[in-house]
Symmetry: C2
Subunit: 178 residues, 2 copies
């Protein structure tokens, strides 16, 4: 991106400080922003009929997070985006994002690439989820997010892996013995 585009972008980003456990998005709300995480950590998750949370993804420094479906179609979201740590974010509204898309073709390109990368990430995760055991999923979580393994509480990791904290505890124990 050139100086001009960077200027156009930064002028439309709003900085917000977010406390631990504060929400960027709650189920039922329409997602209004595309959010850049400058510091801190967020989880995006759904809650099933039994009230259990299921983490779809985490976002830390220099990552983007949003419910793209809700933002795009202006429909109520089924997801929550919540800060796991005190965080600082930069947000751009849908309107401003559309303005950039229209007036600076490079943005279309750049945001298409961001979404493509998110898509690739999600596809690999889905493949893992359906084809690997809990232990294998835990191993590849550690490989993919080495910094997160120590930074997050195990309850959050278990929710991401699709298992209970109890079973994660057991897996870690058996893994350590070897």
């Amino acid at each position: 991106m050139d100086v001009e585009e960077i200027h156009a972008l930064t002028g439309r980003l709003t900085e917000r400080k977010i406390k631990r456990r504060q929400f960027l998005l709650q189920e039922g709300d329409v997602c209004k922003y595309f959010t850049y995480v400058q510091s801190g950590c967020f989880k995006i998750y759904g809650v099933d009929d039994k009230g259990v949370e299921h983490n779809l993804a985490f976002a830390t420094e220099d990552d983007w997070i949003s419910d793209i479906g809700s933002l795009h179609k202006e429909q109520p979201s089924k997801l929550f985006i919540e800060a796991i740590e005190p965080s600082v974010v930069l947000q751009i509204s849908k309107g401003d994002l559309w303005y950039l898309y229209t007036n600076y073709p490079k943005f279309d390109r750049n945001f298409r690439v961001i979404i493509e990368n998110k898509y690739i990430e999600l596809q690999e995760r889905l493949l893992q989820t359906v084809s690997a055991t809990a232990l294998e999923r835990y191993e590849s979580f550690i490989n993919q997010y080495p910094h997160l393994a120590n930074r997050l509480p195990n309850t959050q990791i278990a929710s991401y892996l699709g298992i209970t904290p109890e079973f994660l505890s057991k897996i870690k124990n058996e893994r350590f013995k070897k």
Copy 2:
């Protein structure tokens, strides 16, 4: 899209007839095309260490299919794309797609939207996979793809749902009794 863009696109699409069980992509190959399905049906799947296939998605008439990650990064794919039925497709190469992106801004927009919709679909599927039982997943498969439920062999549906054909058979039986 205007007449001009449609013309630019159609001139770069190549028609191919594909037999049942023929591959558009095999594991290890770099994905070269973005493929539009004009008629027929494809599955995109990965194979685990035990040789078991796991269907990530199906694509029928008027849908697009590709391994976007492999196409984009020019890396060997981990996936197979295989015809379940005799099919006719229109394919555009990466080079031509890039040409369209560069010279017709509307394509960037249109393909961003296609990918966004694929992303949304995938995210809902992941949420389902981690938070719903096999029966619930089967029910929503039927709601989402009513035409596919009768069109596909149960082995393929089971692979999509992440269960064995034996267990799918059991579920269907119990569901029918009620």
